[in-house]
Amino acid sequence: MKSRRVLAGIVLLANLFLSGCWSSREVNTLGISVCLGIDKSDKGYVISEQVINPKTIASKKMTSESPVVVYTQEGEDINETITRMTTITSRKIYHSHLRMVILGEEIAREGISNIVDYLLRNPEFRTDFYFAIARGSSAREILSVLTPIELIPGVDMFTKLKMATEEWAPVRGLRIIELANDLTADGINATITAVEKVDDGDTTNSTDTLKKSGEFEKLKFTDIGVFKQDKLVGWLDELESKGYNYITDKVLHTVGFETYGDNGMVSYDIPKTASKIKAVVRNNQPAITVEVKLTYDIVDVKGDLNVSKVENIELINKLVEKKLRIICESAIHKAQKELGSDIFGFGERVHDADKAYWKTVKDKWNEVFVDIPVTLELSAKMNSTGDITKSITQKN
């Protein structure tokens, strides 16, 4: 009896040690990758990893080393190429803290579904990183740009994109779940924002960049790339991107201005917008109504407009609505007439409105979409005139 107990104890203990430290790894053996770049090459893929050099970032000692190191490998398959990295780094590349995935423009045009599949399937990838398409340069070049203040470029891009999404209407950050949804769903097409290198004089990717305060290479989020299925087909410029975000209710906060008269100007802050897409199908003819409600606060008045007067408020409301119409129409025009890709999700609304009709057009939706009539119902409302009413130069 006793010996049996001892035996059971040994077996249990052995279990504990046999499973021994499986998957255990020390932090100082990891190469924490914050940014993954995927470019196309003749062979297949060129994959770049932006790996943090921790001691330059968190140590008290000043170092002249670069805060990140970019490792690049070429291969035929994504996973193979990433694993091939071990031949050039001493650290195991660790992707759980990935902040950005930068796709080369060429590969985006070719199709990104297998990349999204890989990123979704691999448990090492979290789901909270953003996507961007490198415009005007390769993903690898984007990864090599160093950024001051926030020393890790991947984190810099991530926070920049997050902040701009919240504050600036034309930019939209997209995470993998939304991207995968947009790619797989019928009646909506995906979009990914573009990142561009802005050369402000110097173009060296050395830590000397970090010693400068103004004239250096910067990364900028500009246009929005429009996809058809999983392939990039074109770009929305700033105005169109803004319209796209207004229509899809993705604007959290933005700003705008209106001119009136000879040199008068009112500038305003938009803390709140709400939009709704409605679809009606009549006689097998779908029609879309887009409602956008916008509330704004006056932040600056140039000229002699008394913004506290009701008739003037109505005037400004009209101006704002007019501008909003231009913005939204440009986005719809680009998507329908030039790119032929339903990025707004009109198809989903049509699906909700008439399921039977949807079944007949589901497979050729992108062709049908091109000719759908879209009505815009816009309304702008002034919320406040700020802390003062009249312009300070105005006498009465």
Binding site: L16, S19, S24, R25, E26, V27, V34, P54, A58, H97
Partner: protein, 517 residues
């Protein structure tokens, strides 16, 4: 009742006194091995009356009492005494009974017990009964402030090594005739005085009976501290958790008695045992009741947090750093990674070494002579902490983790509980190093199962949380105001009656705010 234990010990060879005084004295001296401190004074009250002897241990008695007794004896009207031994015995008995508490008996074992506890025994020639007079000296340490269970606003007296003083401190707090005190003598060699205290009518009778039988069955040669009792009577002797509360504060013991607990006092220890003691009792302090209930509720919650910190912080740190780096926020991970650049050991080993170092420092600090005590903090803090980090042997994060754990362990009010958690921490460190968070969860499940299994004097250890008793959680994680605490803690007391006379703790009129101008 109190003689049960004594009977139990002496029944093996009961030796009775002889009628012959000389024979008795010879036996006495042989049994005590002619010890120089055993004083046997032979005297006569008057010429030609029977010889009597007063026997005592000179270091154990209060000499002023002896003096007053002999004074009284010398002032008597000797003529009244006849030569017969009966009258001498009666006379002695009458005289000393007037002055002090007396007991009599006829067997050696009990007489020795009296002598050894500092009483004076009178033996009269021709009489086989002894008279014992209480003359025990109450010399010893004066009542002083508590050293291990300090409070800010509460009473500042603590128990001493003298059991009678301790009883006085409790009695003077609860002036009620229902307080029962039962004597038990423990230790086959030491004959230590042990007292069982409880409130008749409040304590659960089954618990009292059970404890009495468990305590009186202790068969050990010496009982030199209350832990001797605690360790032997614990219902789960192998458990790491204390199931008997140790207190050096008379107010805590009085409160415990009022709640229906049984106190065990042991001569020679300034710590009184209280049973049943539940898990939540080990995280309470006297101050909880002497300060505002909002503040003390928060502080209690902090203590629970400290308990969790002590138990889990190093383990979770190791698990995160070696297995689950994806959970750590990116900036923190980068910072930890930077600190760990060039650290030669794996995180488990690092934490284990630092924790071990801290435990050594702590043990050394306790055992070291007070005069050189400050040296240890210099060596500990500067040499080990700072130098190790600067030399790159350990990472700063590890030092912070170990320091947080150490400080948290001091926030647990009960020393025994704090020790238990301290020890468990090492188990968790090891399991986290091998299995990560999975191991920690497994460990926690086992720990919880163990806690659920534990009982203190037949009351489940986690009462009133598990088994959950509705409405009984008013004095566990938080402390409700006293006027809401109408009932005693669940499961402990034998009576379900409220602590108040009538329904309300206070006169309902009190809440009406009078306007006095």
């Amino acid at each position: 009742m109190g003689t049960q234990a004594a009977d139990h010990i002496s029944s093996e060879n009961q030796k009775l006194l002889s009628r012959d005084l000389k024979a008795n004295i010879v036996t006495l001296q042989t049994d005590f091995g002619h010890s120089p401190d055993l004083i046997i004074n032979l005297a006569q009250l008057r010429k030609n009356t029977a010889l009597y002897a007063s026997v005592y241990l000179t270091e154990m008695i209060d000499h002023t009492v002896i003096n007053s007794i002999s004074n009284e004896l010398s002032q008597i009207d000797a003529e009244r005494i006849k030569s017969k031994s009966e009258s001498v015995f009666d006379f002695l008995l009458n005289t000393v009974t007037k002055l002090r508490a007396t007991r009599s008996g006829n067997d050696y074992t009990k007489m020795y017990e009296e002598i050894l506890s500092g009483n004076t025994v009178f033996l009269v020639d021709g009489y086989d009964i002894y008279i014992s007079v209480s003359t025990a000296s109450d010399e010893g340490r004066a009542i002083s402030e508590p050293t291990t269970q300090t409070v800010i606003k509460g009473p500042k007296d603590a128990f001493t090594e003298n059991i009678d003083k301790n009883v006085f401190m409790i009695r003077s707090r609860v002036r009620n005739e229902a307080l029962r005190i039962e004597d038990i003598t423990l230790g086959t060699v030491t004959h230590t005085k042990v007292k069982l205290l409880y409130f008749n009518g409040i304590a659960k009778k089954d618990i009292v009976d059970d404890l009495r039988s468990r305590v009186s069955k202790i068969n050990y040669d010496g009982v030199l501290g209350s832990n001797y009792i605690e360790e032997i009577i614990k219902t789960d002797p192998y458990s790491i958790f204390p199931t008997i509360l140790n207190s050096e504060r008379p107010d805590t013991v009085a409160a415990g008695l009022l709640e229906g607990r049984v106190a065990i006092l042991c001569d020679g220890t300034p710590y009184v045992l209280l049973e049943p003691a539940l898990f939540s009792d080990f995280l309470q302090s006297g101050d909880d009741y002497y300060e505002n209930f909002y503040v003390q509720s928060l502080i209690r919650i902090i203590r629970y947090i400290a308990l969790i910190f002590t138990l889990l912080v190093p383990a979770v740190f190791i698990a995160l750093v070696t297995f689950h780096q994806e959970i750590i926020p990116t900036p923190l991970l980068i910072s930890i990674a930077a600190q760990r650049e060039g650290v030669p050991f794996p995180a488990v080993l690092e934490v284990l070494l630092m924790d071990l170092t801290f435990e050594i420092l702590r043990e050394a600090g306790v055992r070291m002579p007070r005069a050189i005590g400050s040296a240890i903090s210099i060596v500990g803090a500067l040499v080990l902490g700072q130098a190790a980090v600067e030399a790159g042997l350990v990472s700063a994060a590890t030092v912070i983790v170990v320091a947080l754990t150490a400080i948290s362990s001091f926030a647990i009010t009960n020393y025994a509980m704090s020790n238990a958690v301290r020890l468990l921490r090492f188990a968790f460190i090891c399991i986290a190093g091998i299995l990560g968070l999975y191991g920690i969860s497994m460990g926690l499940i086992i720990l919880l199962l163990h806690l659920c299994k534990l009982k203190s004097a037949s009351v489940p250890y986690l009462t009133p949380a598990a088994p959950y008793i509705k409405g009984a959680n008013k004095d566990t994680l938080v402390r409700f105001p006293l006027f809401k605490l109408k009932f005693r803690p669940a499961g402990i007391s034998g009576t379900g009656k409220a602590r108040t006379n009538g329904r309300n703790t206070m006169d309902p009129n009190i809440t009406k705010k009078p306007e006095i101008r």
